[in-house]
């Protein structure tokens, strides 16, 4: 019986694993082919003359440098603003008796579910009036609106489950809001914050709508927007873009390797185990 279950498990899992990683393997293989190898020839699943030349080219490429810098700036800004606003809002909703607190939490949840495609047309107009188009600021201002609802929700539900004494005793000792948060809550809150931070990064790395609409100049573009824009031009020399894509995905894959369990737990504590 046991071997039967084991065999059935692998019979199901093997094709799923193969299909899951195949596109990523394909991308990696293409990135390792020598520069100038067109997609139209050769084995798409194997590099005959593997080389790291495409990766080396990228490091000297000022355009790629711009995209990396823009992405880092946008990701950093979004994480920072998203975390700060979420901690403050989560704290207020959990501990200060905010009037209609429960309704506010529900409204936040509602905005979490709002598809971003509903908003991009008016947001484009607003950003254009503020003369922020083509600058990373356009994204730093709009991405947090996708992070804060989830972030507030996670921080709020995490704080609600902490023993109330922890805060009350700090307050009776005369600690202010700031020192309560920094000295007492941050040390225990970090799993929730890691979840929110990682979520913010996935928002930045998974968006294509905002970045391709709000940023039209290549030098102001994030990696995702830039690579998405190159897609059809790539057929004759895809190696470099694919190398860039592998490098762009690396931070997220690494974070995932370290935090996958924490992220999954946070995702489900934030949402399911209400």
């Amino acid at each position: 019986m046991k071997t039967l279950v084991g065999a059935a498990r692998w019979a199901l899992l093997t094709p799923m694993v193969v299909l899951s990683i195949a596109p990523i393997v394909y991308m990696g293989v293409t990135a390792l082919k020598p520069a100038g190898t067109p997609l139209a020839v050769g084995n798409p699943w194997w590099p005959d003359h593997p080389t790291l030349g495409n990766f080396a080219d990228l490091f000297g490429d000022p355009q790629f440098g711009h995209w990396v810098a823009n992405t880092a700036l946008v990701a950093g800004g979004t994480v920072l603003i998203g975390l700060l606003a979420s901690i403050l809002a989560g704290y207020a909703l959990a501990y200060l008796d905010v009037p209609y607190g429960r309704s506010i939490v529900l409204v936040f949840f509602a905005t979490y579910l709002l598809p971003q495609a509903v908003l991009f047309i008016p947001l484009l107009r607003v950003l254009s009036r503020l003369h922020l188009l083509n600058s990373p600021a356009a994204l730093v201002l709009t991405y947090p609106s996708m992070v804060i609802p989830f972030g507030t929700w996670v921080v709020w539900s995490f704080l609600r489950r902490l023993p109330r004494d922890l805060i009350d005793s700090a307050r009776t000792d005369g600690a202010g809001v700031y020192s309560t948060i920094v000295d007492i809550l941050l040390p225990v809150l970090w799993p929730a914050l890691a979840t929110v931070g990682l979520f913010a990064i996935t928002v930045v790395f998974n968006d294509y709508l905002y970045t391709s609409t709000f940023i039209q100049e290549s030098s102001g573009q994030t990696i995702m927007g830039a690579l998405g824009g190159l897609i059809t031009a790539d057929i004759d020399n895809p190696g470099k873009s694919f190398a860039a894509a592998m490098l762009a995905a690396a931070p997220l894959a690494l974070l995932c390797a370290f935090f996958a369990d924490a992220f999954a737990r946070g995702l489900s504590t934030g949402i399911i185990e209400q």
Partner: protein, 274 residues
């Protein structure tokens, strides 16, 4: 303390929705706010066969991929529920497509599904399953976009369902076994009810995510050929930004709102019950 979150998130969203509402009843164009034209945009859309094809496509895209992801996610969760050698590696491999930036994953799929020495054609030709190169994106555009969506999103269902599975105590399953419940009975009477909230939540997230989805369709098919894979976000994008009819684009984007409201009611019911 709520102010940063409220301004950045609710402020942005409320302002954007009001502006969107105005655009939808105006003849706004690029850089102009237009004049009031009543419901002309909506009337125009209602008489357009393209529009109704897009509505059907969006429903098929969202519905089909959600159902397939739910089924595969259930398989993933059940196969990973108990410890076995290699579980961590398999889990990471199955989680990878979800964490892999969707723009980059779609770029890989764009070339995998190509008829010019595409990765999939190459394998099928070697196995003699097809006689000549097949143009997946052009011939089966909806199948192509759904495939990429499923590839990217299955792990979210897997993770949510796995978390729910793990919350079932082994005592409960043991006592059921002592009572003589067969595995099939256990599955339908104990496991399924436990998984229902997580599954419903996944469905709500997926349906809304797919409705607002942009990257996969825009990069893979651009809604083509001839609108055969056009969905609401790419259609709004094309009308508002490519053709410059901002009013019409806004009216199209607002079509998502009724679906959003229904999904929201389902989500609140779900959370209210617990």
């Amino acid at each position: 303390m709520l102010a940063p979150a409220a301004v950045l998130c609710l402020g942005t969203i409320v302002y954007a929705i009001v502006l969107e509402g105005w655009f939808s009843v105006s003849d706004a164009g690029p850089g102009t706010d237009g004049v009031f034209i009543g419901l002309a945009n909506f009337q125009f859309l209602a008489g357009l066969s393209n529009f109704w094809q897009m509505v059907a496509n969006t429903g098929i895209y969202s519905g089909t991929s959600t159902v397939v992801k739910l089924a595969l996610g259930l398989v993933m969760a059940l196969a990973l529920a108990r410890p076995f050698p290699g579980r961590r590696v398999v889990y990471a491999a199955l989680f990878l497509p979800f964490i892999f930036p969707v723009v980059l994953g779609t770029i890989a799929w764009f070339f995998l599904l190509s008829n010019i020495n595409g990765g999939i054609d190459w394998i099928l030709l070697r196995l003699h399953l097809i006689a000549q190169a097949f143009e997946w994106r052009g011939r089966l555009p909806m199948v192509s976009v759904v495939t990429v969506n499923v590839w990217h999103g299955t792990a979210l269902f897997g993770v949510l369902l796995l978390a729910a599975l793990r919350s079932i105590s082994t005592d409960l399953l043991d006592s059921a076994t002592v009572d003589g419940a067969s595995r099939v009975q256990q599955f339908f009477h104990i496991i399924v009810p436990y998984l229902k909230p997580a599954a419903l939540l996944g469905v709500v997230l997926s349906v809304l995510g797919n409705f607002g989805d942009f990257a996969i369709v825009e990069l893979l098919t651009r809604g083509g050929p001839l609108g055969r894979s056009q969905i609401v976000s790419t259609y709004a994008f094309e009308n508002a930004l490519v053709s410059g009819d901002v009013g019409l684009g806004a009216a199209i984007a607002l079509v998502m709102v009724p679906v959003y409201v229904v999904a929201l009611v389902v989500a609140y019911r779900l959370l209210g019950r617990e």
